[in-house]
Symmetry: C2
Subunit: 342 residues, 2 copies
Amino acid sequence: MLKPTVNKGRASGRITLAMVARHAGVATMTASRALTQPGLVSQPLRDRVLKSVAELGYVPNRAARALASSQSKVIAVLVPSLANAVFTEVLAGIEDALEGDDYQILIGNTRYSEREEEKLITTYLQSAPDGMLLTGLSPCPRVQQLLAGSPMPLVSMMDLAGADEQPSVGFSQFAAGQTMTRYLISRGYRRIGFMGAQLDERTLRRADGYRQAMQEARLAAAELEVMVAQPSTIALGAALLDRMLEQASGCDAIFCCNDDLAQGAVFQAQRRNLHIPGQLAICGFNDLPASAWMNPTLTTISTPRYRIGFEAATLLRSLIKGETPAARHIDLGFTLMARESA
Amino acid sequence: MLKPTVNKGRASGRITLAMVARHAGVATMTASRALTQPGLVSQPLRDRVLKSVAELGYVPNRAARALASSQSKVIAVLVPSLANAVFTEVLAGIEDALEGDDYQILIGNTRYSEREEEKLITTYLQSAPDGMLLTGLSPCPRVQQLLAGSPMPLVSMMDLAGADEQPSVGFSQFAAGQTMTRYLISRGYRRIGFMGAQLDERTLRRADGYRQAMQEARLAAAELEVMVAQPSTIALGAALLDRMLEQASGCDAIFCCNDDLAQGAVFQAQRRNLHIPGQLAICGFNDLPASAWMNPTLTTISTPRYRIGFEAATLLRSLIKGETPAARHIDLGFTLMARESA
DNA sequence: CTGAAAGCGCTTACAG
DNA sequence: CTGAAAGCGCTTACAG
């Protein structure tokens, strides 16, 4: 008769590997191998273990595995927003890239707040992630310090870092801002406004690109910029259109730092009975789903969100495995979508 | 001289509670209590422990804590989509409700797929969540079986379950569908079409509400329904508008099962030079941000997504604590937003 | 290919 | 209030 292990009332009540092993008549070690390195176990024993697993309904305990192996099989992802389709598509790319790799993905929404980011990272660090995917190039100093204390690999998403900096996957936000502005100039617009919200890293880089292009063309003027720190929404786009028209007389085009703002600006311009693009051209950034369908269709920059997530996760995985990736920085580019609104 | 514990090369390299305790000159147990039940430790010892924690940069190991306490402090959340703002707002409510409770939130996107849901739950079960938040009332049989094997509390979100069923937080999708349809009827529309995509539980319940209202008014007709299993998008809304107009002659209003579809239908109707609502009324469901701003503004049903997440998480937490909540089913209602489009 | 022992870093359950 | 011992459920590192 099998003597049951002493249970002082601490057991979780779940089926354990040891129970599976006993049921199969093998050592715990053999049961462990049958599940994680089946090649090292003979066919007959492996079959018996698998049969016991099924019969007992065994579910591995990740906490125990993590503790024993010091591999958490956790990847943490930090995005600044989930309300923005850009980042949910990044997440879809990440999930697809990691599909089947048995990683637990921890999704953290920083809500564009450094404090929130710090809190999330502090919590995530307790799970000792095998790696982390970060949005943006330069975390605030406190976050950098937190991350410096851990040896796990990191990959930055959305923009491109310098060659000697942290691995990154994205595209040049600066170049994209510049490209759109040059396009507007080439179409004959002269009083081109820039409308920016949130004022996160990427928006600021796009604004830099805009300024550079305007200066090159000797069209720059301070009153052409409307920048506010509030979150981007359609409602804000409508409000900022009013402000721009008030502040920048003769404004004939507006480059909005994202499509939400641009959509709101278009709707509001229509309410003011302005013809787009005849009286006012409006363009956005990101190419959200509605932009190709609204009336008029929105001129914008299409960005490779899904691929950024996919490639960033792929790069991170190879870093976790200790491989030396072919490239530590991946430029996925962007595409100008010339449509009706500008 | 302190004899270092034998290290056969298995240590993770991180600072452990034992190291903190030794540094502070107390037992590991005391250091543990100082962090988790500070009231049980005298002020002087507590201070020494906290000082050591800071000096050594100690980060608790969640896996070890979970294993020892058989409390994972994990809550898993399953939503069918992240592309849909409805669910990202639900998530925001959940995060806010659980703020400061030290739960790790696992966000799983099932992509409206039962296979994906099954895979996610199988993985999540390995982390032995303390509780789970599910979208929808009736998981598929295989998922039900998976969940039945675990004693953790569950709460369903979005719709209302029967009194004797699983706890739920949401509103009656059926009543909402019925309310919108009756509204259209009261406005004088007679050939009212229903446009449904995805065909998930909630869409079907809304369609039931529509049918009920149409039958009551003796207006029901098979050709007034356009139902497709594809995911809802603006592009699909545009395509389905064409199909509806072809299939249902004299159609004077369309109730779209969500705002994405409705927005696409509006844009496409405008391209066909149909005046809204004069020649065709269109309404949606959910009240997404763009709906109040587009031209014309969209008549729709506003749904309490954020509060659903918040209340569901609050209910789940009390269930996890073993409390008996005041109500196991919480009806948060919905609001008809009568705007320009219908 | 198989297994007994030890250990991962915490907390439970006692004892004082 | 404080602590020594044992245990959570796995895997590592050996030994055979």
